[in-house]
């Protein structure tokens, strides 16, 4: 017998021509709703004891609706959910908390909301207090808490008694790294004792780390159910739009790609996968960056790039004035804005001849960079300037932080840049043992 059995689950929101028709239906008057809006349809899966399942999907894919039906707050329109055990869910941070009460009082209250008696809660209160590790704040009003502290209490209460099914919806992300690790440790202890975990996270890394299996929802249906690595890859492709992808096969890739890019002179930058509309764009005009292309290992616009693999960044510029000397530039930053590496044609091209451009001319430039970076997201900027690179440069068009790049690395090191250290044990001294 499975712990959770979801069969053909569906949820529709019904609307009526008038709310009175809805009310009349309660009194067994058969009236048809004027419209049905299906949020979730035909979802089936089972979860066994001790299994951890990640649920991924874009906003609006139906994740929350599914969780609410498993938790039991929302009634399915079709199909059913069968749960053989007790369920504990953290669907929203600090749910049921009263800001005017102390942490301790809220623990009693929320545990009551979960159906426990005061005696049961009092018995585990010291454990909850110890687990949350918020010190004196435990007896202060919750209104003085940070969201991380609220989450500490919420998690400590929700897991004070081992549930058979634990549902966590994003809530853990507000905790600091130390407490998150502590939560996951408790979760894995529970798993060994047979608790099933359902984790919803927008971080594919978390899903891969903590779940063996994942389910991807798309438009209210199960798009994929399988090993979490495969499902999250599929999810990332979906997010960053791998549909536009073409495999580049020829050896004259460069030639082909630049021809491909030169085929149109429209401004398509903002339509490309990974484009960030929050980009910061400035310059004195005179040139316009029209398009860009990333290629890694023959894949165009890869949804993620394996750490240390070479990446080609192409970008297409239209010049609106004659320039004696133009200098294309490229910059990569962390999400926090730390400059990791910036270069330009002069620096990277090691003094190649000056590039000149005529008004109306369109050129494609390429920077090839091996991604010696840790797992994470990075911001890419493109720019083009005119002038002498040794003296002052006039920025023509700069598109700062215009592309988001995901670097994937399963074996992570600490820090940001992979300086590619090697290691060896060199020489040892042997004590001569006297016999």
């Amino acid at each position: 017998m499975s712990l959770v059995n979801v069969s053909n689950l569906g949820k529709a929101y019904r609307s009526y021509r008038s709310e009175w028709q809805r009310i009349a239906r309660w009194f067994f008057i058969p009236l048809k709703p004027s419209a049905e809006h299906w949020i979730l349809e035909g979802v089936s899966f089972t979860i066994e004891a001790g299994e951890a399942i990640g649920i991924v999907g874009k906003n609006g894919a139906g994740k929350s609706t599914l969780l609410k039906m498993i938790t039991g707050t929302l009634q399915p329109t079709q199909g059913n959910v069968q749960i053989n055990g007790r369920i504990s869910a953290i669907l929203e941070l600090g749910m049921g908390f009263n800001p005017e009460l102390t942490g301790r009082q809220n623990v009693l209250h929320v545990a009551g909301l979960m159906g426990f008696s005061s005696e049961q809660i009092e018995a585990v209160m010291p454990e909850i207090e110890a687990f949350a590790e918020i010190g004196e704040y435990f007896d202060s009003h919750v209104r003085t808490y940070s969201s991380g502290m609220q989450m500490r209490i919420a998690f400590a209460v929700a897991t004070a008694f081992r549930p058979d099914v634990l549902i966590v919806d994003e809530a853990l992300s507000v905790g600091d790294a130390y407490f998150q690790a502590k939560c996951y440790k408790r979760i894995s202890e529970f798993k060994e004792q047979g608790t099933a975990l359902i984790l919803v996270s927008h971080s594919p890394g978390d899903v891969v780390k903590h779940c063996e299996r994942a389910i991807m929802l798309k438009d209210g249906r199960v798009e994929m159910d399988g090993p979490s690595r495969d499902v999250t890859n599929r999810y990332l492709d979906e997010l960053f739009g791998k549909k536009a992808q073409l495999k580049a096969v020829s050896a004259e890739v460069d030639q082909q790609l630049s021809e491909q890019m030169l085929a149109s002179d429209a401004d398509e930058f903002h339509t490309r996968p990974g484009y960030r509309k929050e980009e910061y764009r400035w310059g004195h005009q005179g040139a316009t960056i029209l398009d860009y292309l990333t290629v890694s290992e023959g894949v165009q616009y890869p949804s993620q790039i394996e750490s240390n693999s070479p990446v080609d960044f192409y970008f297409k510029v239209r010049f609106d004035q004659n320039c004696e000397s133009v200098v294309p530039g490229f910059l990569i930053k962390t999400l926090e804005g730390i400059f990791l590496y910036g270069t330009n044609s002069f620096l990277a091209g090691k003094g190649t001849d000056e590039i000149s451009a005529k008004a109306g001319e369109i050129k494609v430039f390429r920077f090839s960079v091996p991604m010696h970076l840790n797992d994470g997201h990075y911001l890419v900027s493109f720019g083009v300037s005119s002038g002498n690179p040794l003296q002052e440069l006039q920025p023509l068009d700069r598109r700062y932080d215009s592309v988001l790049l995901k670097v994937n690395r399963s074996m992570q090191f600490s820090g940001i840049v992979d300086m590619q250290s090697s290691f060896s044990e060199c020489g040892r001294h042997l004590e001569v043992l006297s016999k």
Binding site: W26, L101, S117
Partner: protein, 264 residues
Amino acid sequence: MLGMLRGLWNYRNFVVTSIRNEFIARFSRSKLGGLWMIIHPLAQVAIYALILSNVLGAKLPGIDNKYAYALYLMAGMLAWNLFAEVVSRCLSLFIEQGNLMKKMSFPRITLPVIVVGSALLNNLLLFIAVITVFAILGQSPSVQMLWLLPLTLAVIALAVGIGLILGVLNVFLRDIGQVVPIILQVWFWFTPIVYSVNIIPDYIKGSLSANPMYPIVTAYHDVLVYERTPDLNEAGIITVVALVLMVIGLFMFRRASAEMVDSL
């Protein structure tokens, strides 16, 4: 129905802590704290007693006591406050607790029970204030006051019935939440609480029988002011009406429970 009761029993701890927390939260940042729970009703009753009797010199026909009118008013208020508090809180209950109902799985029936519990506690405090002031004004508690127990239950049944029906409808038709407070005001003045029933013109008197709060308030007057047994006939009919309304309310609540969460 049995499931409802079982759920309620399993969650009794939640109900009790919710009621207690409500009071703790209300007074949490005040110096006197819980004392305010008794100061408020006492002040309310004392103001009515002193202003009406001494300043306005309002008199109640048929009773000698100078404070009779104040007593009369307080008795009526005791009944009306309970009724109005339960109805108006049930009215917005599901909307206010919408997020909780969406995110936590617990028996929903606990929500109106918490409202009733805290309203009863408020009412008890008001009652203590009333008999204290009554005693000071020379009306000592009588055995007839025991009638207040069944009467309170009748008020609760009536208020929960009406409150649940309106509260459920309010989730779908939000205008109800706006119109009911107005109706409650009109209803208050249509019930002989501030005035004596004798001063109503005859042609309106007939319509009083359509007001379910009229027999209840009258019974409160009988018990507290005139110290006599209330008219059991009338009170009995109202109790039946109240119970029927409560069953309808619970029925609608059950039928609408699932859709309510969708709409919130």
